[in-house]
Symmetry: C2
């Protein structure tokens, strides 16, 4: 959707640092990892999304004449550096986990291997895009889980944080499981279903509700969903809807799909009462759609109370991920090349789990062969090799006494970080959004139910290989002994 | 910033309703109001923002050949309606409260008077834009209030909900009071200061912290702010920064602006300790900037504990308005023209305060002449006239016993809803973002301190004129008696 050049969509300090490297003739290749530390909304997993836009962004990276003129006007950048920017394009490698994959904390979702000036420039936009779309895809998968397979429609455009948030957010919501979106631009750009019927203003613009319903039913004879809460749901809206359905039945013009939409009031009570009224009139296949401040918790609660709702329109709480509106992805330096070798780097912190994992890494997903479920993920250095015909010892990198040995034949390993750019050339083709959605459903099926639970889910283990674990401790020891000697 | 055509940035039901009106030869002029019911984040007010993009959006409204082809492919729209869309442009009137104005619940922030098909199409995009930017401008004004006049910098791009949320959100943050943004694209597009220095990766890419600091200071001799928490703030970062400042002082090259940035740990403790160390070394004018999960509450708490911080970088919590990530603006039908007269319309609800205000309205802001502070806002019908030389009786529209009579000379009235489009032509020129920011500061000065309080603020009265109040009750009585007789 985004057609403009996003090259300046970066933090100012990326440019001041770039000039610093440029002036010091430093353009060593580096490894940066995008990862996050906590699943959003208390989830047991996240769904990564946004890669397609990252690819588009990197492909189109260049500073226009206007961009350079603007930067010159700030009187902080020298002409030689501006000349360098004018010829800038991305020459590095990018690896990423495909969109729609279930992912866990500390895993590199994207890995950039590039000269430091290039790697630094693209930090902010990559984080912005991956953080946003992963957040909404994750939220959508939770809402759809609560709806237990019933249709969830994304209706949040009017409350989204700007046009992109509405459009790219709706894309992510479909990846996470929504059947479609009310956002026509998203539907067109990404080839997903556009959904919706009419608003209260439609009803109010007619002399009465019955006429408004009748007119709508005539216009849209194959899918007639009537909004019943403009005046009084049970005393006016549902009776009028039933009257129109009867007229259609009497005329032999029953729509293929028809029903009502509830948009206010107590949805459990109103849906059960409405269901009864529809059934009593013989409309047992009439659908009942609900919308109104829904999220995964309210849907779950309504389901557990036996609400007679069979499709769900979810707006604000999904498109903003209201209870957790930011995905905490970060972009951390993991290694710097010196004389052809990557020297691993680490970022310290008072909190052990905030210390980064050093080196040029990849991720293996370990499946149980008999269930197909995820046993654990294993972060390892790229040069390590694993042999599935041998036992595999895995252990928790913080509580190291938590160990398991996997027997040959009982587990399978699959590398999930895939090449996307090599030497600046894109080597990856994004699937369509509906293909990503289908893949995401397969991915969700590899999680144990306990991990999908909405509240206090079972965590999936993300372990470090023995080699990576030892390397990390070795560097920590060295850094700490340097600090002691200061 | 947004260069693409946003005409399809609309809910699908706007188009199905439009076709419904088209097929029924109904294109009566209508009045729609954009208003909200509750201030975000428990605030006593909101700052409206986004109008400039709304103007741009309406000016550029048209369906491209590609848009029409897409809509045709859905097999729900007839050729005659698609022909109408192909020739569509906006012909109506728009009134709005200027960006940067303080506003209160129930006030029309934007009023659209247009043929119903046009008014319906633009609902979603107007809400999306106004909701988003008003949300962030309001949040920014709260964060800046907490910082008590000290500089607040917008640093949230990497955690924003997509590129627009980062860029238009940063624009709104500056309107609300931020001194600038890290987002270079926003800085360029909207002419606001671009801010930032370096990241942890800069420090980590050098053999040691001291070299990283020295190199940075050489590069940026007029503004040298050093990030001191990469390894150990008090044992490594601050001592190394002081060493570099001493070297600059000894060389007679003291930067005009210099200091340190804290980005982790306990900011109250670290800032006081760092201040002492800087002061002891004679650097009493060194600035201390803090960033790290800040919001208005944490800044207020740090200030009350005497934290020695003089500028604030605020990211995630501002750019997403984390505690309240959606602004609840709605778009409600207020009147329909019949035979040249607007017939007022009302939307019922179980909740009295959710019932809409009918008719073609405007808003007068009433100031106390001796203080210049806002006394109340008055929503009235456009045809009403008021005479400041006479006493003015105002009363709360729900608790009607709350009455005040304002004496002539003691109050002033100013209409705040201004014309923006007339007959489809834009008649309003947006100020620059920095002009809007300055205007917003003036606006905030018209609020009582009690209304600016971060928690449980004093509410500002938004009253209805007697004429509007009576009209509303008359319509409610009619609707209720119709329901009784059904």
């Amino acid at each position: 959707m985004i057609k403009e050049n996003l090259t300046l969509l970066t933090d100012f300090y990326e440019l001041t640092m770039m000039q610093g490297y440029y002036k010091n003739n430093r353009n060593d290749r580096v490894v940066f990892d995008v990862f996050y530390r906590t699943n959003p909304s208390g989830s047991g997993y996240a769904i990564c999304a946004g890669l397609d836009l990252v690819i588009q962004y990197i492909k189109e990276l260049h500073f226009t004449y206007e961009d350079i003129s603007y930067l010159r006007s700030l009187n902080i950048f020298d002409e030689d550096f501006l000349d360098y920017l004018a010829g800038f394009h991305f020459t590095g490698d990018v690896y990423a986990i495909p969109e729609g994959t279930v992912v866990f904390p500390m895993e590199p979702l994207v890995k950039v291997i590039a000269p430091i000036m290039e790697a630094q420039l693209i930090e902010t936009a990559i984080l912005n895009i991956i953080n946003h779309q992963s957040l909404i895809a994750t939220k959508a998968s939770r809402v759809c889980y609560a709806a237990r397979g019933e249709a969830v429609m994304e209706f949040g455009l009017r409350r989204a944080q700007g046009p992109d948030a509405g459009t790219l957010g709706a894309r992510a919501a479909v990846i996470g499981g929504c059947v479609g979106t009310s956002n026509v631009l998203c539907a067109k750009e990404f080839g997903v279903p556009a959904l919706g019927t009419h608003a209260h203003s439609w009803i109010m613009s007619f002399e009465n509700e019955l006429t408004a319903f009748r007119t709508y039913a005539e216009l849209y004879p194959s899918n007639t969903t009537l909004l019943v809460d403009t005046y009084d749901t049970l005393r006016s809206g549902v009776p009028h809807a039933i009257q129109v359905f009867k007229e259609l039945r009497d005329a032999g013009k029953m729509p293929a799909k028809y029903g009502i939409r509830l948009d206010s009031g107590d949805l459990a009570y109103l849906s059960k009462k409405s269901r009864q009224m529809l059934d009593d009139a013989g409309f047992i296949d009439a659908g009942i759609c609900a919308s109104s401040d829904l999220d995964e918790y309210l849907i779950d609660s309504l389901k557990s109370q036996g609400a007679a709702i069979d499709s769900w329109g979810v707006g604000t709480n999904l498109i903003t991920s209201k209870d957790c509106p930011a995905f905490g992805g970060v972009y951390k330096l993991a290694a710097i090349e010196q004389n052809g070798t990557f020297i691993p780097k680490i970022k310290l912190s008072e909190n052990q789990w905030k210390i980064t994992n050093p080196g040029n890494k990849t991720i293996y997903r370990i499946y149980e062969t008999d269930t197909g479920k995820i046993k654990a993920d294993l972060i390892a250095l790229v040069e390590e090799t694993f042999d599935e015909s041998k036992p595999l010892l895995i252990f928790d990198p913080i509580s190291t006494w938590k160990k398991t040995t996997l027997k040959p034949g009982k587990y399978k390993m699959k590398e999930i970080l895939l090449p996307v750019f090599r030497n600046g050339t894109c080597v990856y083709e994004s699937p369509t959004v509906l293909e990503i959605k289908a893949y995401c459903q397969e991915q969700l099926a590899t999680l144990w139910d306990e991990t999908r639970r909405l509240i206090n889910p079972q965590e999936v283990y993300v372990d470090l290989s023995k080699v990576l674990f030892d390397l990390k401790n070795e560097i920590l020891d060295t850094v700490n002994s340097q600090k002691e000697s200061d």
